[in-house]
Symmetry: C2
Subunit: 311 residues, 2 copies
Amino acid sequence: MKRSSPDVPLIECVPNFSEARRQDVIDALVSAIAAQPVHVLNVSSDPDHNRTVITFAGEPKPVVAAAFDVIAAAARLIDLTAHTGVHPRIGATDVVPFVPLRGISLEACAALAIRLGERVGMELGLPVYLYEAAARRPERRSLANIRRGGYEVLREDISSPSRTPDFGPLHLGSAGAVVIGARAPLIAFNAFLDTNSLGVARAVAHSIRESGGGLPYLRALGLLVGGAAQVSMNITDFRQTSLFRIMSAVRAAAAHHGAQIVRTELIGLIPQAALLDYAIESLQLPMATRDQVLEQCLGAATGDYRPVLFE
Amino acid sequence: MKRSSPDVPLIECVPNFSEARRQDVIDALVSAIAAQPVHVLNVSSDPDHNRTVITFAGEPKPVVAAAFDVIAAAARLIDLTAHTGVHPRIGATDVVPFVPLRGISLEACAALAIRLGERVGMELGLPVYLYEAAARRPERRSLANIRRGGYEVLREDISSPSRTPDFGPLHLGSAGAVVIGARAPLIAFNAFLDTNSLGVARAVAHSIRESGGGLPYLRALGLLVGGAAQVSMNITDFRQTSLFRIMSAVRAAAAHHGAQIVRTELIGLIPQAALLDYAIESLQLPMATRDQVLEQCLGAATGDYRPVLFE
């Protein structure tokens, strides 16, 4: 893989696939991506959710080409009619976000998403929904709205006016539909509680999430995973609602139900700034301590390091 | 400043000066360093301690030259007989550690320290003590042993056999003595408690530090700074005793005395890994999450970023 120049635009793509139990399928998906000149940065598979998240990055053209190729591969390899898992989903390739990393705007990423969506609809014959920054209907900015009821409900409702896809056919095959869009970097973070009560997981999720009147830029679901209560979270803007505030809210809400966090997990990648800011807040250091990180100072002085991508 | 090649050895020097209240003196010290082709990364002045820590880095030869020049400047500009401050000190330039950053060993840094010490003794006529990795007597590995009693006691005792300097004269002038050595990266971290009791600060410091039977690789002093109890800490190996363990120990020991941490501060710079590891431990994430930091993954893949210096 060639060393990329700092001036070249760089985007990230984080497709989510409805498969985590068949390693040969996961390998085939990774291979489809890696056949293009892009960097595969992370593969996170969750057997309980039966869901795999692959993070890759590179210049826009090969990243979009890799996204198309892997959507085609997933449609051949994953049968939604046989899929089980606790996470809401509507497609073999369930959702494909593009994220600007540097030298490119969110709007330009949305334009890439729309062109990819058109091609997936036409060439692969899959229904495509455009979401977040690429949405063409306001209610489709929300992924939850598009996925409501999952594959099983969408299969019945796809021809109703409110659920018409943005591209592709008006019927759902075994590969389901694909949601494609552009967004800011997102943190997917799950907390396991020391209880097997789905009710507690749901109550905690409801009280902390934006839609329940909790923290802005936080989505949360209460699930039962492997017999344990899990609060499954997406932080859509960690610069607005910090990981420290979120962790504090989960701890407090869990304590309110007599529960504690026993462990957490991160799905995919996390921007470095989110962890550094968490440490600074939790250590009760002033925010200006950000400027006292050795590698950042040295990088700024010598030009050896690049600054963190998201401040 | 030229962009340095990854193959060139890089060292850090973190001299501590007994002055924080006269900005013109601090400026003169920084200028003496910056006259050499090195990178000044941070200047931390604490008026209560009346102490300034300057962090600079570069190739060994100019870093050692800058260290010599700034020791000479401080000897001209700072009069220890007129110095007040709560922190133990014996010199205008109190301590000069060299830290290997990359492409050089701790032993090679110790050799640089010894040669600098010899030159400071001969050319500047200052008593010099060699410490940590550069120490020539086992009891002088410890900075606390060398500084015991501060400038005032050393002035009387310097000619006694146990306190004979490694280089330079057997008497202490107004610039005091200089402690020079080499060590691993150190974190200087202070916690302020919600009490004005020096006794509580000292009890907390005593219970958490290595010498009191507490955490290994942790030095701690209880001080009264601006009327508030302060636990002043040095972490000499954050890879052995993590910042999370230390923060937890300070919180627990303070709580034992009915006190709480109200804020903390970092003096100088901190290796990035110490903050990332703190975040991961505190968030109850598995340690393998280290490999899920976006910038690190991207840097490893594209060659744009260099890995963190201290794993």
